[in-house]
Amino acid sequence: MKKLLTGNSAVSLGVMLCRAEVISAYPITPQTTIVEELSEICSDGRLNAKFIRVESEHSALACVAAASAAGARVFTATSSHGLAYMHEMLHWCSGTRLPVVMVNANRAIGSPWNIWCDHSDSLSQRDTGWIQFYCQSAQEALDTVIQAYRIAEEVLLPVMILEDGFFLSHTSDSVDVPEQKEVDTFLPPFNPRYKLSPDDPHTYNIMADPTLFIHFKHDAQLSMERTKRVVLQADREFKSHFGRSYGYLGKVRLADADVVLLTMGTAASTALEVIDAFRKQGKKVGLCRLRMFRPFPSEELRKILGEAKKVAVLDRDNSLGAGGIVAQELKAALYGAARKPKIFEFIAGLGGRDITPEDIKEILDYTLQNSGPDGVPFWMGVKK
């Protein structure tokens, strides 16, 4: 059924359709309306879940981690400082191999105080062992929640779904809400092989001595690798049930593109019309939207970007002292590749500043007009 939904509302309905059994979260802008709606869904009986109110994000994730270890399908959501506060538990979730699904509404991290969108909160957590999907639309956010449980429960790794704060979390769009029956077929009940049980009690997270520790980490790495296959497989099956698929990347007019704009999240929507305008002028530009950031789809990126002459990477984040994180990751992925485009790096939209069609145009023009990058990321709209 088609509904007009905000990104946050689409997420809440997605969680309901997945029949989450334990939900715990602490409110933070711009995530709050997700759990507000879920609390209503739980209280009016549309979802038979235990909704646990807590005093912090650290506790929220600890609650759902414990429930997941006991075999429940769980959900939490947060944003920015809340995600930072979860940092320790993020590692424990992935280390315990718990298929927790979380939505993070992307928001800048202070200081200075700021409640608006950028990707620095979730990219700060890239090494915690979570699978990360960056969404472009409310429809994609809902669909990704459904896919995320399927993937997480298959590979036993937690999934973080990212939606741009306000740009996606609070704007409304037409969303096709799947039928419960169809979701149930795609996503059977969680039936873990290992779980906490009073009938046969075992200790979780016992100390692993130096002989064993590395084996657990290696196993998780293998599962991350395997995740790439599982994501595509789940995506294919999802398409057969619901008619939509997403893959690792969103690709627009890449086949013959000389210049490719690479970015994540809602900025890709803005870029679409600029790309069309450039094409009308005969300029061969294309768009690649990175949906799956972890595991990083290096092979795929090498293959599709290898055809281009130049890639303009638009980062809505910055690693102080290094540059845009997506650009860093891309450069590492292309190292040693047979065909390597030139990489132009742009930092834009931090702390919720709009990334306008004019910004995109400027980025593409600069990339088209210059023969090579000058080695320093270009900060859009900053006084020089």
Partner: protein, 595 residues
């Protein structure tokens, strides 16, 4: 990932093998003990031991009638009002009376008063009593009769309580009452706007249905000589305190002057009393309040003359505030010095004004007359209600004490063999619930005597705490009901689990509808409020199956008992962290120092 079962098998020698062989072991993806945790007997670490131990709730200790208030609250909270009634009437046969007229010291002891307001125990007792009566609950006579016979002198709350308990135990009981109707002060002292006559009659009828013999209009010492009691195996003396203290002022013998007790007795007997228009009631106690309010209802314009201030009035607060609501006039700091008469009939009263001096023996400040401050009030009648005393003249000399009470030991026994006494006739607080408690204590003492028990020891085992409250249930089980004598103080509760809730009061008849007649003022709790109040109860010291200990135990060492009436601790795994003790909202788990 199909099997739900956690791993069971411990791969042989897993801990010792070198890394090379790990592949063969098919490690789980997360670090998970091979061995079940049941192998680790964490109980061996314990040096403090939590133990389930129900304790005494302060309401139980504070109830002079010895009711198991706490148990009645638990049952009421489960909407089992019949069960609650059975719990109450095991100890006190007059819940509908006490639910109306008791001064409810239970609420004074209630731990909830430290948190917000005490639970409305008294109103709930009335609700439970009325509910049970309306649903046809009645006392059942015992199957086995015993041969011993007991005479009870006086059918007030002490006598009725003693008769009920003895008859329930199977003894033959005869109630000897000097007046035409049973009930003593309940019948002739308390006006019906506080205790409707039909409620009292129903309660008494229910007690009598146990097979109690009744002789009314029999005054011992006159209609029946003391020697005539010899045919009984024991006697319980509960004749009360009916003699009014004299004012000791000129004119006291004039027509139009009467005692509060005599006035109330007439009113309660339905006799006509001619008070005239203006009535002066002397005194500040409950009798004075009852008298002045009864006079108001008879159409007079009464006033209270009291020698001290409102602060020192011995009447209960509610009686005073209701009298104020009814616009009764109070003249404080004044003592009558002379009753003015004309033709042998009252026409006025002369008073002197007082100042309050230093506190006297009872701690209240003593009134001191101010010279030349005399004033007179024109009145048509005077009711003196400055206190009551006993009339012991009908008793054998041995039973007459030096003062105005029959001397008894701690078991209620007098110096005469198998003669016990209780209620207002002995030195104890003169209230309905104390009288009911004394009657019950006597019943237990008489039973213990008949059965050849050590009476003092048998009663000691029946005590609820240290305030002189006794329980028949404890007496029958010789104190082995599993409730420790320790009273739970407020500080032992974990109030994090309770939220402030406003107390629901009983509705009262609007003042305009009260004073035209003797309709009952207090209307009782509606069912929803009764349930609300029952559930406001903290259930101090008694497990009510809240599951907190079970949920908090980090070792899963706590489980529900097979009978579902409590929990058990598996001490093989209880490592003595005592989180259960801390998280028990009601102090029902104790800590023991040793394994």
């Amino acid at each position: 990932m199909k099997s739900r079962k956690p791993i069971k098998k411990k791969p042989s020698g897993s801990r010792k093998k070198p890394a090379a062989s790990l592949k063969k072991l098919s490690l789980p993806p997360m670090s998970l003990s091979f061995e079940g945790t049941l192998a680790t007997k964490t109980g061996t670490w314990r040096y403090l031991t939590p133990v389930y131990a129900n304790k005494l709730a302060p309401c139980n200790e504070s109830c002079p009638a010895g009711e198991d208030v706490e148990a009645a609250m638990v049952l009421s909270g489960q909407e089992d009002y019949s069960g609650a009634w059975e719990k109450i009437t095991q100890e006190n046969p007059l819940p509908r009376v006490c639910g109306r007229v008791c001064f409810h010291p239970c609420e004074g002891g209630c731990n909830r008063k430290e948190f917000d307001e005490p639970t409305a125990i008294n109103a709930l007792e009335r609700f439970v009593g009325d509910h049970a009566f309306q649903s046809g609950k009645r006392y059942t006579p015992p199957k086995e009769k015993k041969k011993e016979k007991v005479a009870i002198i006086g059918s007030g709350p002490a006598g009725l309580s003693c008769a009920y308990h003895l008859a329930s135990m199977g003894y033959g009981v005869t109630l000897l009452e000097a007046l035409p109707k049973l009930g003593g002060m309940l019948q002739y002292g308390i006006p019906s706007y506080r205790l409707p006559k039909e409620v009292l009659a129903q309660e008494i009828d229910n007690i009598l249905s146990l097979g109690i013999k009744v002789q009314t209009n029999v005054r011992v010492g006159k209609d029946l000589k003391w020697e005539g009691l010899k045919e009984y195996d024991a006697v319980f003396l509960a004749a009360g305190a009916w003699k009014s203290l004299p004012l000791k002022i000129p004119g006291e013998d004039s027509a139009g002057v009467m005692s509060g007790v005599a006035f109330l007795r007439k009113v309660n007997s339905g006799e006509a009393v001619d008070l005239g228009q203006r009535v002066a009631v002397i005194g500040g106690g409950n009798t004075a309040m009852d008298a002045v309010r009864a006079a108001l209802r008879l159409g007079a314009k009464p006033l209270i003359i009291y020698r001290r201030t409102k602060e020192e009035m011995p009447a209960w607060e509610e009686e005073i505030s209701e009298a104020e609501e009814e616009q009764i006039e109070f003249i404080f700091l004044s003592s009558p010095v002379k009753i003015l008469t004309e033709g042998g009939k009252v026409k006025g009263i002369e008073c002197i004004k007082n100042l309050l001096g230093p506190p006297g023996k009872d701690g209240r400040r003593e009134p001191q007359p101010i010279e030349n401050s005399n004033f007179t009030l024109p009145v048509d009648s005077v009711i003196s209600a400055i206190g009551e005393t006993t009339d012991l003249s009908f008793l054998p000399r041995d039973l007459q004490g030096l003062k105005d009470s029959v001397p008894v030991d701690e078991t209620g026994a007098t110096v005469m063999k198998k003669v016990f006494a209780g209620g207002d006739i002995v030195a104890q607080p003169r209230t309905v619930s104390y009288a009911i408690g004394a009657g019950k204590k006597a019943a237990m003492a008489i039973d213990a005597t008949f059965r050849g028990k050590n009476v003092a020891e048998a009663l000691r085992l029946a005590r609820w705490g240290e305030k002189g409250s006794f329980s028949v249930a404890r007496y029958k089980s010789s104190g082995s009901d599993g409730i420790s004598p320790q009273v739970v103080p407020f500080s032992d509760l974990n109030t994090d689990y309770f939220k402030p809730q406003k107390r629901k009061a009983e509705e009262k008849l609007p003042v305009a509808q009260r004073t035209g007649g003797f309709s009952e003022i207090t209307q009782g709790l509606p069912p929803a409020s009764a349930l609300y109040e029952a559930r406001r109860c903290f259930n101090c010291g008694v497990c009510n199956l809240c599951d907190n200990c079970f949920l908090y135990c980090p070792d899963l060492a706590i489980s529900s008992r097979p009978d579902r009436q409590g929990y058990q601790i598996n001490y093989d795994y209880c490592k003595g962290c005592c989180i259960c003790v801390e998280e028990c909202p009601r102090g029902a788990i104790s800590l023991e120092g040793k394994k």
